[in-house]
């Protein structure tokens, strides 16, 4: 009798769980906390400003001496963050700096992701010498101070935007490779990989179609904090005078050029510092939020 009722219950369960759950359950954004809203909003705004900076109506050119030098902030678009010792709009320079920095960092991340993921996936899938080579690279890069690596590179090939992109990209290849490698190793013995083989899938197909989709969430969560790290590195380089050559605006360069005057015009440094701090904070918050989402979902799967 108990067996019978269990049977019915199991059948009900089967039927019930086969029913589609509310349509958006999987994609629904988990409740964001206030500071997470801020983080996503800030990064979205910054990206929009960086893309559109040339067409923002009324915004002065970054190198145009638009007003008196070293003015405190005032209630106008160009004067919102004050002016620098040459009378240029700090807001305009911060936004143009955002375009430069975000552009460089985005390309560097694309390079690092493409190379790192490919190398990491091959290392995790085939192990052996490929894995040892990838590990050696990742460990070496992880044990060197990033600034030194880049300075060495700049010393050899000279300073340019392209050099910066490549140099920053090289820094993160190892990190992405390691994460991809771990994700592949965790999947190698999964039944769905075996099932794909039993369907006649080649190695390349298994990597691209079965394993890669499972790597994407973890990699997505790690991108924002690594991008934040690159922004800091790029800022440090510009601050040291090895970044994007002036007069092109960059956050680090702006901080550097205002240090001489810091005692007399402390406000000069607020704009670029605020930009770096808020961007890095927001990116890290986004990373945490994505990681949390990922954990929640893994628990539900």
């Amino acid at each position: 009798m108990t067996a019978r009722s269990q049977d019915i219950k199991a059948q009900d369960l089967e039927a019930a769980s086969a029913l589609p759950a509310p349509a958006t359950a999987r994609l629904r954004w988990p409740r964001l906390k206030g500071f997470e809203w801020f983080a996503f909003g800030f990064v979205a705004l910054l990206i929009a400003a960086a893309v559109l900076v040339d067409v923002i109506p009324g915004l002065a050119r970054p190198n145009f001496p638009y007003g008196d030098f070293s003015q405190p902030p005032e209630w106008s678009l160009n004067g919102l963050l004050g002016t620098d010792p040459l009378g240029r709009s700090i807001l305009s320079r911060v936004l143009h700096g955002a375009r430069t920095t975000l552009g460089i960092v985005a390309v560097a991340t694309a390079i690092a992701l493409a190379i790192g993921m490919t190398a990491g996936m091959l290392a995790g899938f085939y192990r052996g010498p490929v894995e040892r080579a990838v590990d050696l690279y990742a460990n070496t890069m992880a044990s060197l101070p990033p600034i030194l690596v880049i300075l060495a590179l700049i010393a050899v090939v000279g300073n340019s935007v392209l050099t910066m992109m490549l140099a920053l990209g090289i820094l993160d290849i190892g990190v992405y490779a390691r994460i991809a490698k771990g994700g592949v190793i965790a999947q190698n013995d999964r039944d769905y990989v075996l099932a794909a083989r039993a369907m006649g899938a080649s190695d390349a197909r298994i990597l691209a179609r079965e394993i890669l989709p499972n790597l994407v969430p973890a990699l997505t969560a790690i991108v924002p904090p690594l991008v934040a790290g690159l922004i800091i590195t790029e800022g440090s380089l510009s601050f040291l005078g090895y970044g994007i050559p002036p007069p092109a605006p960059s956050w680090g360069g702006m901080i550097a050029s205002s240090t001489d005057l810091l005692s007399r015009f402390p406000l000069l440094v607020v704009g670029p510092i605020l930009a770096i701090v808020l961007t890095v904070y927001s990116l890290n918050t986004i990373g945490d939020s994505l990681a949390r989402r990922l954990n929640d979902r893994n628990r539900n799967l």
Partner: protein
């Protein structure tokens, strides 16, 4: 079944799987020989560790790199063992479809159901997107998914174990294979769902006129669903023959013990085979003689010394490897049985 080679789909001859260990080669599977006819269902039975999955992996060429497969595995006349990788990949999924034990893990959690079914037909049959989709939805409805359109666009985690296994069966059938292999396809499922899935497999085998291999540790699963039976023990075939005949008159002592451990053979009985006292030998210390000797009530001295060869009955369809076989019932009884089955 014993007719011309045209009627044989799978022809395994002296198949062995050997694991390379630090202490030398270790035979996991030895001298497995059997033939599977077209449109025939074969049951492979044996306790856990007997080598059933190893045999299937050997047939599919999915053994890990530290295991070597020897012998001949003829699939439709082509030898799978000697075949180049690319040719093997062209046959897997196309000519042979496979359903695994655990549907919870054999479907990719991050890939939509539809794409998992389309994958094979787009790869092997070069179907277009729309065509593959139509085929997949038709398949989903054939395997008993209530709302195939919706299922097609969903991720697997939305479905119960039974439904997932139906989806898995649909993926295996996507290219209309001539052989469907189900390795413990119902073992991980809820008891009430097991029979449904087995009935589905049996029905599909009939409808699609394909061959099928049902691998199980549970004799009751194969009783009414297979034409032929292969009993594995300790990595060897100990008995094979038409299912009805083996059930009616088992000759190997192990098969006899297995059968007496199943209370009812016409319904899934969910009885573990562990009711035979003792455990099967580990591959590391399998005896020189009959692998069943340590547990066999009829064992003699020579059982422990040498491996019994395969004895065939009069028409060569029923074989068993035992020195002291269970006495055959009177010739009249066997003949009557055989007549009733054919």
């Amino acid at each position: 079944m014993t007719g011309g080679d045209q009627d044989i789909l799978l022809d395994c001859e002296a198949v062995s799987c050997t694991l390379a260990t630090s202490r030398g080669p270790l035979a996991l599977l030895k001298d497995v020989t059997f033939r599977l006819g077209r449109r025939t269902a074969l049951g492979i039975v044996g306790e856990s560790g007997a080598g059933k999955s190893m045999l299937i992996k050997g047939i599919m060429g999915l053994t890990p790199s530290d295991i070597t497969v020897a012998g001949r595995i003829g699939l439709d006349g082509e030898d799978m063992v000697a075949m180049p990788e690319a040719r093997k990949r062209a046959l897997l999924g196309r000519k042979v479809g496979m359903v695994f034990q655990n549907p919870m893990t054999s479907l990719n959690p991050f890939v939509r159901v539809g794409r998992q079914i389309d994958e094979a037909s787009r790869l092997h049959l070069r179907l277009g997107k729309a065509e593959a989709r139509a085929r997949a939805i038709a398949l989903l409805s054939q395997v008993g998914i209530p709302d195939p359109q919706e299922c097609y666009a969903e991720y697997p985690h939305r479905f119960s174990g039974g439904m997932k296994q139906r989806i898995m069966i649909a993926t295996a059938l996507a290219c209309e294979p001539e052989l469907l292999i189900a390795d413990e396809a119902t073992t991980a499922l809820d008891v009430t769902v097991q029979k449904d899935i087995l009935d589905l497999l049996q029905a599909l085998q009939g409808q699609r006129r394909m061959s099928m291999i049902l691998v199980t540790h549970n004799l009751a699963v194969v009783a009414s669903r297979t034409d032929e039976l292969l009993v594995l023990y300790g990595g060897r075939v100990v008995e094979y023959g038409p299912t009805e005949r083996v059930f009616a008159a088992p000759r190997h002592r192990y098969t006899e013990a297995l059968l007496s451990a199943v209370p009812r053979m016409d319904e899934p009985a969910h009885t573990r085979l562990r009711t035979i006292p003792g455990r099967p030998p580990d591959p590391q210390d399998r005896p020189a003689g009959c692998p069943f000797a340590a547990r066999c009530p009829a064992a003699e001295e020579r059982c422990r010394q040498e491996m019994p060869g395969m004895t065939l009955d009069a028409d060569g369809r029923h074989g068993f490897a035992c020195f002291v076989p269970v006495p055959a019932p009177g010739p009249g009884a066997t003949a009557a049985r055989a007549e009733a089955t054919s």
